[in-house]
Symmetry: C2
């Protein structure tokens, strides 16, 4: 955890307001419910450094690529999950001054992400430029029970004055992505409706025609008593709708706004019904009320924790950190929708575009296998199964044929989005991770049926890719794999990376093994698959075996070690102890070429990053 | 030459107007005089596809870099020669219709770049939407005699009508670069003056404070008779000044506008005097008159051709092509100013940013050595000498020390501007090209004095770089060079590229040789240089010799060949004859990784791209 975060077993806590930490805290305190997520932006206006961010899973934009030297096979676009209309906003004006923590004198600021119960709480006291002091308590949740609903309770106490407080809850469609390649806006606003204590905004992505409706319902209370006589000013601006309510408060009184939000997308509804559906969701939340929503949320998170908690005793910071990871993974992905996946940064920001990487198979699937019902992992596998055709197309763009599949480095819909040649074309071990995840799932769940239905087709496509990507060296009289980037992304375009070659051979062996298994256990399934993928039973398995049996792996016989790649022993070997601290981490101090010319060893007689021979 | 260009020994000729070829023709018919250059844009308004381009050598902008994955050592900016204010513009309105070839019916269009005499001529007949026909003859030059002057003669004949023709010569500072990374405008306009038949505009680059003043003087003639009674409307808009003149013409009359331009920059004048100086140049041109300017231009080009012409008999297209190359090189660089260099595209467009590449040393210097006074090449060498400190800084950014110099891949002021790791950090043979150019110059001119004054310091900096970049392989017990991109830019991050390693060793040997030479011939010079570069006479030359004597070169003993790089023999060897025509050229059909996994051989027993052993 970042140093300014207070240790606590169940909560992420920030005490004291820091404009400098704001963007970092917005990420750390993010909320999500699998279907949507948002950064911990303030509800009220904030003019300091901030990244406004709200995301709807699966709603993306194909942002036109910008590269220096265009290379054949690069994708035309990078699909990114979009910053979506802001539905948490509430402008607050006290008499004539806008509440804005960047300008006010802030005291007793505290932010808490309650991971046990799944909500965000913020309290502070702010002194406005005219000396008036307000005390604010803001609590919000994205419901994991009603996954199209969010709710906010925003209370303001008039500490040292009597006066007028204006509250302006709104929905703002005029949002942009900071990472837009051409500074374009990605949304059109199609429709806006505003009524008393209610507003709806329908937005459409400028490409692909995704549509999302956002509705809000609001309620105002003074000292806990519902103000039934509020007549808000109905406001509509460009791509923006809101309700302005002015309330006279006496010193010591507490004014509370409850904002209930419904969010519905064209992923789940026909476009014509979206506005009505989102309003229905907002009303459902309103009727339930935030207290009941919080109670249900706590219970639902309680169930999740029962399955997935890891307890660490005697180290509160470690306990907090592991729960933070578990909470983030469970906030980001729930396994309810096979069209979705796990973006590397979850719903915490724009970096990595909310897209799918092999990180899902390598790091997330082992977690979900151990902590969630097996269907959660199964959905992640089916996501890749559904992209098999696209993976075959991706491989074809790079010159492969006959059903060879290369899964993309970065994707939302199955098409490759990455555009750095050393990764797009060369960091291909990702393909093996996808095969290995199938293996991992089956050995964990014993769901062999998955192979018949989905898994084997994927395994065959991947094995076919490796069989074509690996070539025969007449000089070595062995099979070699040239021009790859291994998991060590600092060494590009190397030959015979041990990890990649080994994984490729494992994939071909495993595919052969699974073919035999399906063939003998469920011959009808095999017959269907064989015909579907046009499998050459006579030659393909034999070819794969030949490669596996004759694969070249770089090794140093004298030292009895495998080498990371060809030529590894030519590097300058430096003792870690001889590397000054001022130059660590080297990726922040050394140029790319210098990193890859060196290898660091812990002791003079061992080589780090090199695999010992298997027994 | 592009297929639509008519073959001619001395001229580039386009006949018939084609909007499709317009951008291509604008490049092909470009004019330059070493100090400035411009694309063959039309003087009159044109709303078809066009790239407006006018460039002042040495006036550049540090455009902030945009990359995907930022790597340590990347430059902050890409310096580019800017599109500068447009001074050729003349809006023409016939009664109520704007002359615009994209809209008019165009007949008898002909464009000619006269390379022998150095001018651009364009003739056409245009029918306006109301049926009026004008016949236009437009001739212009950038003077190589008065290098801050340009002149245009623009004649319009009223073919089938009597009426009013409005001429509006202007200077437009509202220009942008198409290749701007952030769509910014790069110029501020500081000052505009407009008087009768005269205007001046002073522009300043938004960064670095380069200033350039553009002045125009105009004269109007009817049937060759000067119209002394013209009273133009003086016009000033945002970043734009012009003179509008309306002239009544009778059918058959010819209206001629002469526009004389002066362009002066803060590279050569103090900022306060720029406007006055540019106006002085415009007046000088006006007094001389375009006919005399053309005569002087023809004579000056005649002198250039005397030195640099290459005659090819029996093949007009080849004759035209070689003269086009000679003309372009002489238009782009004259050797008068050691701050300037040769952009890969000359003054023909924005591609490559008008910056300096190793192409200058590798391709241009051999040309200038054979066709121009030796001082022209000397200036190009001095350009690099003046950047030696920056080259040492560039190397330091990548971790080199003690006076090691790495010349940049792309530069204007000596700082590296390139930002693709496989080139910026790895295509380092460029450094050798700069040393080799010194060798080339000296062996051609016998100007050994150059070594004492400038050359040796550069050679030492470069040799020092190689001595650090080359490392010792304990496995091979030889010196190796890891992680380079050779001149074959499709194979990145290879080890022991034969060309680069050989060139590096040549540089170290040559530096040693030159040190001995200077030491024995001009000991005082050596003593000065030695102290200036803090040379360790005891260890450095010996270290270089040790490396040269123990350098590893990849070779295949069996075949008796040097290999392009380590592992080359592992590639799939394909007969050129087996590569379908549909897949050629492979860089347009194959992905990067596929290209580098293959090598093509002409016959089954030879290997292309591999060097035969030296005898």
């Amino acid at each position: 955890m970042n140093q300014y975060i207070k240790a606590d077993p169940w909560r992420i806590i920030e005490e004291g307001f820091s404009a400098e930490n704001q963007r970092s805290s917005e990420s750390l305190f993010s909320l999500g419910n699998g279907k949507m997520g948002q950064r911990a932006n303030f509800e009220e206006r904030y003019t300091g450094k901030t990244l406004q961010g709200s995301y709807i899973a699966g709603i993306y934009y194909p942002d036109k690529t910008r590269v220096g030297w265009w290379k054949n096979g690069y994708p035309e676009y990078f699909a990114k999950v979009l910053n979506s209309p802001n539905y948490i906003g509430i402008d607050v004006v006290v008499d004539t001054h806008m509440l804005n923590l960047f300008i006010c004198n802030v005291r007793a600021f505290r932010r808490e992400l309650n991971m046990k119960e799944g909500y965000l709480l913020r309290t502070f006291e702010a002194e406005l430029p005219d000396g008036k002091i307000v005390r604010v308590v803001a609590k919000r949740l994205l419901s994991i029970v009603d996954t199209e609903c969010a709710a906010i309770s925003y209370s303001i106490e008039a500490v040292n004055f009597s006066g007028t407080i204006s509250l302006l809850p709104y929905i703002d469609g005029g949002v942009v992505n900071q990472d837009s390649n051409y500074d374009e806006a990605f949304w059109n606003v199609l429709k806006m409706d505003v009524h008393s204590c209610e507003a709806t905004l329908l937005a459409q992505t400028k490409k692909l025609d995704f549509q999302v409706a956002f509705s809000m319902r609001t309620k105002v209370f003074v000292d806990g008593v519902f103000c039934s006589d509020i007549r808000p000013e109905l406001m509509k601006k460009e791509a923006w709708v809101g309700n302005r309510m002015k309330v006279n408060v006496k010193q010591g009184q507490i004014l509370t706004l409850e904002k209930y939000i419904g969010v519905c997308s064209s992923l789940n509804y026909s476009a014509e019904t979206l506005c009505a559906e989102s309003l229905k969701q907002a009303k459902k939340a309103e009727e339930k009320g935030i207290e009941k929503m919080l109670t249900e949320q706590a219970a639902a998170w309680g169930n999740k924790w029962k399955q997935s908690d890891i307890q660490i005793e005697g180290d509160v910071a470690a306990q907090q950190a592991i729960r933070f990871n578990i909470f983030q993974l469970n906030q980001t992905y729930t396994g309810e929708d096979a069209r979705l996946n796990v973006g590397p940064k979850g719903f915490t920001g724009e970096k990595y575009g909310g897209t799918t990487y092999w990180d899902t198979e390598a790091y997330c699937i082992p977690f979900f296998l151990m902590t969630a019902p097996k269907d959660v992992t199964r959905q992640l596998l089916i996501y890749r199964y559904k992209h098999l055709e696209r993976a075959i197309e991706n491989a074809a763009k790079l010159g492969f044929s006959d059903g060879a599949a290369l899964y993309p480095m970065v994707t939302i819909n199955g098409e490759e989005c990455h555009n750095e040649w050393e990764i797009t074309f060369e960091e291909i071990h990702r393909n093996g991770a996808i095969a290995f995840a199938i293996h991992n799932y089956i050995r964990h769940t014993l769901d062999y049926n998955y192979l018949d239905q989905y898994g084997l087709e994927v395994l065959i496509g991947i094995a076919r890719f490796w069989a074509q990507r690996i070539t025969f060296s007449t000089e070595k009289q062995k099979y070699v794999m040239l021009g790859v980037t291994g998991p060590n992304e600092y060494e590009n375009n190397v030959n015979n990376n041990w990890y990649t070659s080994r994984l490729a051979c494992w994939c071909m062996s495993y595919a052969n093994e699974c073919i035999s298994m399906v063939k003998s256990n469920t011959p009808a399934a095999w017959s269907r698959i064989k015909s579907k993928v046009n499998f050459d039973e006579e030659h393909e398995p034999a070819k794969w075996r030949t490669i596996v049996d004759n694969m070249y792996y770089p090794r140093n016989e004298e030292l009895g070690i495998f080498l990371q790649q060809d030529g590894y022993m030519d590097k300058e070997q430096t003792l870690v102890a001889d590397l000054p601290y001022s130059q660590r981490p080297i990726n922040q101090h050394w140029s790319w070429d210098r990193i890859l010319r060196s290898c660091f060893i812990k002791q003079a007689d061992t080589l780090q990053g090199i695999y010992l021979f298997e027994n």
